[in-house]
Amino acid sequence: MNLHEYQARDLLKKYNINFPTGEIGSTPQEIFDISKKFGGEVVAKAQIHSGGRGKAGGVKLCSTPSEAKNFANSILGKKIVTSQTDSEGVIVEKILITNTTIISREIYLSIVIDPDFESPVLIASSEGGTEIEKMAEESPNKITKIAFDPVLGAKPYELRRVISKLEIPKNAIKDFYSLVNNLFKAFIETDSTLIEINPLIIDDNENIVPLDCKINLDDDSYFRQKELFSLRDKNQENPIETRAKDFDLAYVKLDKGNVGCLVNGAGLAMATMDVTTKSGCFPANFLDVGGSTDKEKIKEAFRILVSDENVEYLLINLFAGIARADLIAQGVVEAAEETLFKLPIIVSMRGTNSEEGFEILKRSKLNIHIAKDLGQAANILSEINKANK
């Protein structure tokens, strides 16, 4: 789960990490009042769950409260499309107003989990402000990475190397140590998978000041981080993905696909997308209905798939181990009848009770095409698609 910048700032404040004074507003008048209180010149930042917001026009330096109000008028309630969002973009419902800072240099700092080190790592670069991925491709020699030890945290001798590479001013070194240690503490205690300070700036008095931050939390830590997860902003998510999540379905919408895919298991679901593409069609989604599947969950999955207007065919691919193919088939039939679904459904089912599952499908009045395996399902899909065009 992602936090908004303003939520991340509040959270990190508890760990003694202080950003320039800021306040959140959700109407143009509020933005005007906050800006006035801050003395006129402010930075206005749209709060969205996406990077690349500056380039997309979501951040503005405003010299008067009226300018900030105009900016709010132009952006609140509208969607921003950035290099990291889909073509629909994400809605702006809040704007963060902060004091301005004099920037003499920008640094990049983050903590992520590195599967190779099997621990959190600190990633730092003397060139802040840009995306770390771009930096990794264009100038990898400017990036320093050190691993945190689960007991020791960051080792001071390694941090000294980072400090020298980043050319942290002498009188800010102590603050830098504290910042890294506090970030690490926050990272562990909040079950984060990413905390990014970008940029961390060095101001005209040679102080280090964090300007922007991003926090991603581990979805699997929900059971022990309920307070943090109450900060979830569903409006930033794709509504169908949110609905799927509520039914414990893993669903990802894909742009411009014509084949709705219903699969059990993430690997098989991806393989099904790949095979669909090979057949000359395009998958409309990733959907993993999970292992121990019940009928209601399948019905909801079916409803979600057919709510996508681009869907021309359904491809159901199941390998029932723990799950039972007959129950899944029953769910499909009931949901199809309920939604009056008439389009072709191609089904490949293997494993537990698949024969019974096929019988249920055959007895129904649905437009069913049965395949013995995924390969044959792809061939059938390809033939129907050709005949249709």
Partner: protein
């Protein structure tokens, strides 16, 4: 040896799901000798297998040497640590959704310990020859044979097993290493096992998008593996930055792309099944 005729299994996490899975393993032929539950000491599972309060006690009384974990995610870390402390040679953790911070602690704790971990978030392992399964891979789709299978997936592993069988082969051992970014047994561990295993003549590797483990496997294959390898990578059509079902399967950076993994493994001399429905055919073609 990961499992052999001496394998005695201890089960932890016998809720409704876990009990069903354990029953299936017993039906297949697995020698389950002990169950662990803090409140069921003295009772019997299925009227024959004794419950113990702790894993240590179970090992002491029954000589169990392999543990399997079906414990729910919030308690799974503790169960792994308990089995490590009980000195089990092999621990297979099926549980899905363990917080990644817990797995960091587990892996750190396991350094210098004697136990090997498979998983978490995996279907486990199965040997059709020995009729032993530790985990949830359906026994009826497996056939005794000489293909070693290692996979990051769950049901895609079953798909591969079925295809191997339909192509006229069988499996020496199937290892599901799991889909989490931080896990126990790696591709490299499994490959090294298959290279040494006399019953294995060829290897099938199922990878996924995300991380760099397939590239590391490719480096290892170049210098250590002489047996032919067929592979497929799921997720060639997956979008960047989206978590595809489980925590490990998300493309964050160029190295996580399927195309990068395919390139590395091809360069290492492995045979690519570019269509995941043709793993069996690809295997047939190289013999």
């Amino acid at each position: 040896m990961l499992i052999n005729s001496e394998t005695k299994v201890l089960v932890q996490g016998l809720g409704k799901d876990g009990s069903f899975k354990a029953q299936k393993a017993i039906e297949y032929g697995t020698n389950i000798v002990a169950c662990v539950h803090p409140n069921k000491k003295g009772q019997l599972f299925e009227n024959k297998i004794p419950y113990f309060e702790t894993a240590k006690e179970a090992v002491k009384k029954t000589g169990a040497n392999v543990g399997v974990i079906y414990v729910p995610a919030p308690f799974a870390m503790d169960a792994i640590i308990e089995q490590v402390d009980a000195n089990l040679e092999l621990i297979v953790c099926i549980t899905e959704g363990i917080p990644v911070h817990d797995m960091i602690k587990v892996k750190n704790y396991m350094k210098d310990k004697n136990s090997r971990l498979i998983g978490p978030n995996c279907p486990g392992i199965i040997s059709p020859k020995l009729k032993i399964k530790i985990g949830i891979i359906p026994g009826n789709i497996c056939k005794d044979g000489d293909v070693g299978l290692v996979s990051r997936s769950g049901t895609l592993t079953y798909e591969a097993i079925a295809q191997i069988g339909e192509a006229g082969f069988g499996q020496s051992l199937c290892i599901g290493i799991g889909g989490d970014p931080i896990h126990g047994t790696s591709f490299i561990d499994a490959l090294s096992y298959f290279e040494q295993d006399k019953n294995t003549k060829s290897i099938v590797l199922i990878g996924e998008i995300g991380g760099t483990k397939e590239q590391q496997a490719a480096e290892y294959i170049k210098t250590h593996i002489s047996k032919p390898i067929v592979f497929t990578i799921a997720g060639t059509t997956a979008p960047k930055g989206k978590r595809m079902g489980h925590a490990g399967a998300v493309i964050s950076g160029k190295m996580g792309l399927a195309s990068e993994k395919i390139k590395a493994l091809k360069e290492a001399g492995a045979y690519h099944s570019d269509d995941p429905s043709k793993i069996g055919d690809t295997l047939k073609n190289i013999f």
